[in-house]
Amino acid sequence: MNNKPKKAGMTLIVKTITRLTVGLILLFGIYIVLHGHITPGGGFAGGVIIALSFIHLMLAFGKDLALKKLSEAQASFFESLGAIMFLTIAILGFVGGYFFLNFFLDKGEPFKLFSAGIIPLCNVAICFKVGAGLFAIFAALVFLKIGSGEER
């Protein structure tokens, strides 16, 4: 795989289809995340879909292109950032007296995008965490070159 750097990835057909679909998949993931409090879905499913769109890119075009878009260090950074965001939302609840309080007093109008207080914010934080984290796992697993039975 590494001997032929020019021909990284799969065939032309796969690459073309990927180029067409990968943006749609990403967009679908973002939609699922933002509408998590109204329709089925939510931060977790959306985050996995976003991670899958990058993994899709990696499988079709080889790892170099995908890592140019989102490197492993960046993924790790985004993951920690998402985690800290989520924890901050939890700790902000202390303002109202309780850990994890839904501190928006006005919950907004039902069925609208901007409603339900902290729930959409949590969804976004989880999406960052899940998407970046799963991408990091996958990148690490693909990078590992396996020599069978070294130093036995």
């Binding site: 993951e79 939890a90 309780y98 850990f99 309080l101």
Partner: protein, 429 residues
Amino acid sequence: MIHNPSPLFVAIPLGAAFLVSLLGKRVKNFSDSLSNIATFSLLLLSLFSISLVSKHGMLVYKVGGWVPPIGICMVLDGLTSFMLVTVNSIAFLVTIYSISYMERYTAKWKFYTLFLLMLAGMNGVIVTGDMFNLFVFLEIAAISSYALVAFGTEHEELEASFKYMVMGLLASSFILLGIALLYSFTSTLNMADMSRFLVKTGAIQIVPFVTVLFLMGFGLKAALVPFHWWLPDAHPSAPAPVSAMLSGVLIKVLGIYALMRVLFNVLGISPPASTLLMILGIISMVLGGFLAIGQEDIKRMLAYSSISQIGYIFLAIGIGTPLAILGGLFHLINHAVFKSLLFLNSGAIEYATGTRNLRKMGGLGLRMPVTGYSSLTGSLSISGVPPLSGFWSKLIIIIAAIQAGHFILASVAVLISILTLAYYLKLSV
């Protein structure tokens, strides 16, 4: 928040772990200092919680302001603050120790992140008052410990970690199945509410089955004897600070404490269950003791000795009188202290001499006087030599056994104590 600091026990280590993973690679010495600050503040907080509990009695914290059966609650009572002090004091000492010890491994910040996550998981298990929340935090602590066992990434570590992980996941599935059954029957997840419902509906078929499921699950996590065989591989393979943490507190929090909470606070302990606990405890005690004698690797010997001492605690829980529970808890804190001391010493010995074989390291007291004498103290205490604390806790357990009429069990406990002295003398002489 000053009235009830329960959420901070989880929030501080979690926040520290996230910050270490974000900045630990970029800023020099950041991970060392932040981890030590975090564990030290947790220690102070846990000491503070004792005074709170003694002043106010049981404290309940409603997460998100929801009333308990609807939301999750945290409970701070005597047992909780006792366990918190044990865990956090050991964790503080271990973090100090690992500042220089972990220099021998690469990627130190990953170690600290995983360590703090494990601590957060354990504290979460201790303070929670909700069944499913217990499971989630149990998984955090368990998953980080699987990764920590494999931290050296050599043959033995990976093998031990895989075995440990398979057994741990099996245990988790049993526990989750038990929770599912309980939920379907009681339709609530809050422990207090669940137990009220179970008492109201009276004796039923499902409680024994759930008890067995939990006994298998938590027994696997605590390495009771039929489920013990992962422990002597996993504990010695980990880096010394992690071994101290695993053997000293992790098996007690995930196994014994969680089982006690579930059995006493939710299901209610029945006579067959307590007999079963006593039998398993005695078998662990005897088998762990005899297997420890044959070992030449110092850490492996300590691991088998952990199984044996866990047996004492289970015996005490099985007897179930107040005196026995007191003795069991006293032995739990004693074992946490001296077993982590001995594991840390074994790390120091390996650091200095490069071997873990007991035969090759004679004359320890001359070459490393501090380590030698502290090991001697720990060994004497664990084998129950009179003025030291191990003696008193074992004495209480044995007296409780005699009071409850279990003379055979009491005599077996005395004999195993002498056996313990025999194999620990190998270490100190």
